[in-house]
């Protein structure tokens, strides 16, 4: 049977900006057969192929059940890694020359608290101007195609990472009708379609969505039978981590996607081909979705105030450290979703999930509510 696998790789943006990705982080999801994982070298080749980096030396790592980042560099630890998949295996790839070896080892994945607080202090960045260009936090994922292997070829599941960007999502939807094959022949059924992309918006810049694409699902929930207003509300409710399954109006692009992943060696061929089983990983979607749920709580220990002023004061900067990001506990065998695999000093471990945009931006966004 198929083990859903997942890699994420993280490249410095300078040379690797290709195709769909404007920023450095790329995610790939594919399947491996758990019973016959093959050899490490084949796997290594597969990774290079999947990420289209045939001549780049990379370090491969994975997170084990304790949350440690461990290397994969021979058949033994490769097999061990595959056996821990539950069912997802999260693999991290770094360029060898940029790799930070200290990232591996126990507790690496749980150090994020410090990491976060470092990130949250904007002045830290300013002290290190030389890393501005290629720091991983400069490259957040903006979109990805996911579940390629479980969706029908004609469908595309697109994830838009709105969180922390200035760009609007930038698209509109409308009512329409689509033709379906039914036992009684062709039938027109109502559907929801993308009606417009705003130039410069997130949706347009990804190139993954187009006008007249039919929207089939929003975050794993089918939209058939729902009104335009309902679908609008669902999308807005999920807008910080929106996963839309569409039937692209231009089906020719599907072929391009297939040709990119096909032709690789060994198991990768079968595993990277889209499977025709439309398996909705609702749980996965739900689990991943949690990361957008971090409400901000400000605890107040201040003086009694008859009538506090609403305007931000200089104190508010200091109070930032009191912002506590709430996160949901681990679900579906995932790491706690809000964990940030980001090591500031090394800067080479991939960011697995979107992180609240640190620095002055978030200050400005939330400035009005900080009134301590």
């Amino acid at each position: 049977h198929l083990v859903p696998g997942k890699t994420s790789s993280n490249f410095r943006g300078k040379t690797q900006l290709t195709g769909l990705y404007h920023f450095g982080a790329e995610f790939r999801r594919f399947s491996l057969e758990r019973s016959k994982p093959g050899k490490f070298e084949e796997f290594y080749g597969l990774l290079q192929h999947v990420h289209k980096i045939p001549n780049v030396d990379v370090l491969v790592g994975y997170t084990d059940i304790h949350g440690d980042l461990l290397p994969i560099n021979n058949d033994d630890n490769y097999h061990k890694a595959v056996s821990t998949a539950n069912p997802l295996l999260r693999i991290f790839i770094q360029r060898k020359e940029d790799a930070d070896y200290s990232a591996f080892g126990t507790d690496t994945m749980t150090r994020k608290k410090n990491v976060l607080s470092n990130v949250l202090r904007p002045d830290n960045h300013k002290k290190k101007p030389h890393i501005v260009i290629s720091m991983p936090q400069d490259f957040r994922p903006v979109s990805s195609i996911i579940d390629v292997d479980i969706l029908p070829e004609t469908h595309r599941r697109v994830r838009l990472y709105k969180y922390g960007t200035d760009k609007p999502l930038g698209f509109y939807i409308r009512d329409g009708s689509s033709v379906r094959v039914t036992p009684h022949g062709l039938e027109k059924v109502p559907g929801i379609f993308i009606s417009r992309l705003v130039p410069g918006g997130l949706a347009q810049s990804t190139g993954l969505l187009a006008v007249n694409d039919e929207v089939l699902e929003v975050n794993g929930i089918e939209v058939s039978g729902k009104s335009l207003d309902q679908v609008t509300d669902m999308m807005i409710a999920n807008s910080r981590n929106l996963i839309i399954t569409v039937r692209p109006a231009n089906q020719r692009n599907n072929v391009v996607r297939n040709s990119r992943t096909s032709g690789s060696s060994g198991q990768s061929t079968e595993s990277s081909l889209p499977s025709s089983t439309p398996n909705l990983l609702g749980g996965v979607l739900q689990g991943e979705e949690e990361s957008d749920e971090e409400d901000i709580i400000i605890e107040d220990s201040g003086e009694p105030q008859q009538i506090p002023k609403a305007a931000p004061t200089s104190e508010s900067i200091e109070s930032l450290s009191q912002i506590e990001l709430l996160h949901e506990s681990t679900q579906n065998g995932f790491l706690p979703s809000s964990e940030v695999n980001l090591n500031h000093s090394a800067g080479s471990i991939s960011m697995e999930y979107e992180v609240p945009e640190p620095g002055p931006k978030s200050l400005e966004e939330d400035g009005t509510i900080i009134t301590l």
């Binding site: 509109y172 939807i173 417009r196 609008t232 957008d292 709580i297 609403a310």
Partner: protein, 998 residues
């Protein structure tokens, strides 16, 4: 003569309502049918009401009761006739449609010619005659509804007896009226539009008497003895004709008068003649007013000898009849007891036996919307003491002028006595708050509270002018209480809170006024202390562009017994109050507007806290919704009062326009984007963007809440106040409230404890704190009066926040998310109203379950467990197009709810299997004919036009009866159970505000 006058109802403009027409009867030995366009009926003796729903969506134009037989005939505007039967099921009466009938067209004639204009059920109960547009009279048997073709009377047959000089080759016109001879049932008086009136002997098919009228005829009535008739005409006059032997022609009436002449008058649409033992007969007619000066009045005139009263109604007169004893001995008098007038917006009964003809207060059907309803609030389990006090001040307020009993007394109410007293409070546009007894099936008015007299408005002046003018002739008398006109929209009531234990009430309005009131059994004269609270808190760059605040009247004011204001707090800027809450134990009232919220200590009468929630970029919040009003000149406003349509037509407009307003909304959003020109070609589209902090009106305070809980640490609990805004912010304050004895010495202090920003930024609709057992905290004084169990202060408390998109439970005092349910993400619907309700098991009152009830923008009601937030059940309740219905919904604490199905009618629903309020009543009917052939089953077989649904309106939804659909979607939560009152239900949404501003 067992012939109660049928009530002909014309029920409004066709096609104006989205509801199918509904048909209502009230019943009994004397049954007076009435029909409503839509909405629940309440007729007969109080509690007696029957409801039927036509399968067709056409409008009901006429309704007739078949005397004594429990049958009802309805005529729809699609020209079909329907027979309804009152049948008994398990001892209770129900209304079922058994048959329908349509007149066959006449070959070679336009279909309009068979349009039915008059329906007259014959006293014998075996036949009904139908007058038509074409002038023909048809006879149809009952109850089989078969046409007796050989009896049909065509106008040609009449014309043969008409002298040539009268005939002049002209048609007689439509049949305007058919009346049975009061003594001889085989004789019919038939009136044609052109003015000809014929006395027709059915059995011999002979014209007995011709009255050659030349004035266009409107209606006819017999004098009871059958010796004379009266006819009313389109010129505003009526004529009395003497009826004598056979074969006569009468050219001239005995008497002809135009009562409101000599200037041109409008038509008298209906006239009645009732004999009276004590003197002159009553002549009662509608219309006939002088065209130029009073052509816009809706009047019924009652004339007895020299005594004339012109009853002046505020809405169109639809029909009227008199009530007298059914049996009038031969040669006796009718002696009408009461006059019942149905006008478009209410039903009024006039006592004709008491001098001065006072109105009889209605036990039901009081117009809810005598001024438009702007908000409502339900109080369950009202203590008997408070109830009696409210009833008593209400009685002092409107002393009964008539001792007569309500004249409509048919049927028997079988519903059980309500187990508890429920009070529904409605706030109105004119600043009044009305108290209704909502314990039973019908709403009974108890008390009316006005708040306008505290302010300087110009309406008193107007009223006195009007009064003076009306002393003259005609002798107008204002009747009925429907008065949709508000001189100052700033008086409108937005929020009401009532503490049932201390009889303290807070009423908050459109111009930022917050009135703290207390019930007093004595009249009083005192000054109201006034305080202003600046909610902008010196924020720069904002200028309020809306209406001014209301100027309070100075000096001591006189207050009648009832709720009397003690403190007036005015928000600055004077935007409409959007949330209010009261804690009578701490003497605190909290209020919020679109700019911020404030906390006021009404014991010491000083402000405790003010907090601005306005986003710096929000300019819309500074536009008052009423900014246009003040620019209207007074004279202009007065002329608008005259032409302004009633709220009913306003509602129709709303329904009709809602799709287009969505288009406008979408277009407005498009315009913001300044998209390329081709966008204008695209159909309705929706923009997908996350909510952002600087959306307009993000600072609107949606809910306020007081709780005694753990805010700062887990060891000490204390008073707290919570506020939620439109942009998903929650503010929590710890309050220092001095003990009861020290209220006057120490001030209340408020310290900001926590701020929570929900990342999805959806408006916060409600906040509630759950105790250690997961039960909602009790209301103030509930525990100290032994009416509720003390909350569990040992276990850790949690907080339930309901936004428009999701429900979330957080731990306290350290706020971290425990469980949540993302309703919008799963279902695509948004939360409009929520309440914590306690649902009792149908079997045992002891088994209580606390649930979260939620009404969505699609009109669905969802029930969730608390605090685990598991979806339990959901079902449709309100049509999703019925925006005002959804906005008006209130939940009670025990799982019932009310919403407006029209501007004048509340619908009650029940989520509880135990708490069901439904009309149970019985109508005794003595059928003259065997009706076994009419049992529903047979008639279904006989008649394809049988009803598919008969809808009883007052108790649509216990969960058992409805196909309970479980809402799908994953649930992430741990466990627990329980809850009750979240009384903060946000009444407005951003969309509604935008619509209003648009």
């Amino acid at each position: 003569m067992p012939n109660p006058t049928p009530l002909l109802l014309h029920a409004g403009a066709p096609g104006a309502s989205a509801h199918p027409p509904q048909l209502c009867v009230a019943g009994g030995g004397r049954v007076y049918p009435r029909c409503f366009f839509d909405g629940p009926p309440r007729y007969g003796a109080p509690g007696v009401e029957l409801t039927g729903l036509h399968k067709e969506t056409a409008t009901v134009t006429q309704l007739h009761f078949l005397p004594g037989q429990g049958w009802l005939l309805s005529l729809l505007d699609d020209n079909t006739l329907h027979l309804w039967e009152v049948c008994q099921k398990e001892g209770c009466s129900h209304l079922e449609e058994t048959r329908s009938f349509g007149l066959p067209g006449r070959p070679g004639c336009s279909p309009g010619i068979t349009r039915v204009t008059v329906v007259l059920p014959m006293a014998a109960g075996a036949m009904v005659c139908l007058g038509t547009e074409g002038g023909a009279v048809y006879f149809v048997t009952l109850p089989t509804l078969t046409l007796l073709e050989d009896k049909t009377l065509f106008p040609d047959e009449i014309l043969q007896s008409v002298p040539d000089d009268y005939r002049c080759g002209k048609a007689l016109g439509p049949v305007e009226s058919i009346q049975e001879h009061p003594q001889n049932v085989s004789r019919l008086l038939i009136g044609y539009s052109r003015g000809l009136v014929v006395l027709w002997e059915q059995s011999t098919r002979v014209v007995q008497h011709l009255f050659l009228g030349n004035q266009q005829l409107e209606s006819l009535a017999w004098e009871q003895s059958g010796k004379s008739i009266v006819s009313s005409h389109s010129d505003g006059g009526y004529m009395v004709w003497a009826v004598s032997g056979t074969g006569q022609r009468t050219q001239q009436p005995v008497m002809s008068t135009i009562p409101y002449g000599p200037f041109p008058c409008k038509a008298i649409s209906k006239i009645l003649w009732r004999t009276c033992e004590s003197g002159n007969p009553f002549i009662i007619f509608s219309g006939g007013m002088p065209r130029a000066s009073y052509g816009d009045r809706h009047c019924v005139s009652v004339l007895q000898g020299q005594t004339l009263a012109t009853l002046d109604f505020t809405s169109r007169v639809i029909d009227f009849f008199t009530v007298q004893s059914a049996e009038v001995p031969g040669g006796g008098f009718e002696n009408p007891r009461a006059l019942v007038v149905l006008v478009e917006e209410e039903l009024v009964a006039i006592d004709l036996q008491t001098p001065g003809w006072p109105t009889i207060p209605a036990p039901y059907l009081a117009p809810l919307h005598s001024s438009a309803i702007t908000c409502s609030c339900h109080v369950s389990n009202v203590p008997l003491k408070l109830w009696e006090r409210i009833v008593s001040v209400g009685e002092q307020q409107s002393p009964r002028q008539s001792s007569a009993a309500w004249p409509i007394d048919g049927g028997k109410n079988l519903a059980q006595e309500p187990t508890q007293r429920g009070l529904l409070l409605t706030g109105h546009e004119d600043g009044t708050v009305r108290f209704w007894d909502a314990s039973g099936v019908s709403l009974k008015p108890l008390y009316k509270l006005g708040t306008a007299n505290i302010f300087q408005t110009d309406c008193e002046h107007n009223d006195s002018l009007n009064q003076a003018g009306e002393e003259e002739w005609p002798p107008f008398r204002k009747v009925g209480c429907f008065d949709p006109y508000s001189d100052d929209p700033r008086l409108g009531v937005q929020k009401i809170v009532l503490c049932k234990y201390t009889a303290k009430m807070v009423v908050a309005g459109t111009a930022g006024q917050v009135l703290v009131m207390e019930l007093s059994d004595e009249k009083s004269e005192h000054a109201v202390s006034v305080a202003t609270v600046d909610l902008l808190q010196d924020r720069e760059g904002f200028t309020w562009k809306g209406h001014d605040r209301l100027a309070p009247r100075n000096g001591p004011l006189h207050f009648p017994p009832g709720f009397q204001p003690s403190v007036l707090v005015q928000c600055v800027p004077p935007a409409a109050v959007t949330a209010v809450t009261l804690h009578s134990e701490w003497n605190l009232v909290a209020f919020g507007t679109s700019h911020g919220f404030g906390l006021f200590d009404y014991y010491r009468r000083n402000p405790v806290l003010a907090r601005c929630t306005l986003h710096p970029n929000d300019s819309l919040a500074m536009e008052g919704p009423l900014s246009r009003v003040k620019s209207l000149k007074k004279s202009l406003r007065q002329s608008f009062r005259r032409i302004r349509k009633s709220r009913v037509s306003g509602k129709k407009r709303l329904n009709a326009n809602s799709p287009s307003s969505k288009v406008q909304e979408a277009n407005a959003q498009l315009a913001e984007q300044a998209g390329p020109p081709e966008v204008e070609m695209t159909p309705v589209q929706r923009r997908i963007e996350p909510r952002s902090a600087d959306d307009s009106l993000s600072g609107v305070v949606r809910c306020l809440y007081f709780a005694d809980t753990f805010l700062r640490d887990a060891a000490h609990h204390g008073p707290t106040m919570w506020a939620g805004t439109n942009s998903g912010s929650v503010f929590a304050y710890a309050l220092e409230v001095p003990s009861q004895e020290k209220f006057s010495e120490r001030a209340v202090e408020a310290v900001l404890g926590k701020e929570i920003q929900l990342m999805h930024r959806a408006p916060v609709v409600a906040i509630a704190v759950l105790d250690g057992r997961g039960n909602p905290l009790p209301e103030p004084y509930e525990v100290s009066r032994d009416l509720a169990k003390a909350p569990d202060m040992q276990g850790s408390h949690s907080m339930l926040i309901s936004s428009e998109e999701q429900f979330k439970v957080f731990t306290l005092p350290k706020v971290s998310a425990k469980t949540k349910f993302k309703l919008t993400a799963h279902e695509g619907c948004r939360v409009r109203k929520v309440a914590l309700v306690s649902l009792a098991s149908a079997g045992s009152e002891e088994r209580l379950e606390n649930c979260l009830a939620c009404l969505t923008n699609l009109g669905d009601i969802h029930i969730f467990t608390v605090p685990s937030l598991r979806p339990q059940v959901h079902y449709n309740c309100i049509r999703k197009e019925d925006i005002s219905g959804i906005a008006s919904c209130v939940f009670t604490k025990h799982g019932q709810g009310f919403y407006l199905i029209s501007p004048s009618e509340f619908e009650r629903f029940s989520l509880s299997a135990r708490n069901v309020t439904e009309p149970l009543c019985r109508l005794e009917v003595a059928r003259l004919q065997d009706t076994s052939c009419l049992s529903p089953a047979t008639s279904l077989a006989l008649c394809p036009g049988c009803p598919q649904s008969l809808l009883s309106l007052d108790s649509p939804g216990s969960p058992e009866e409805h196909p309970a659909a479980f809402s799908p979607g994953p649930i992430d939560s741990p466990n627990s159970s329980l809850e009750n009152p979240l009384d903060t239900t946000g009444d407005i949404t951003v969309e509604e505000v935008k619509d209003f501003l648009a």
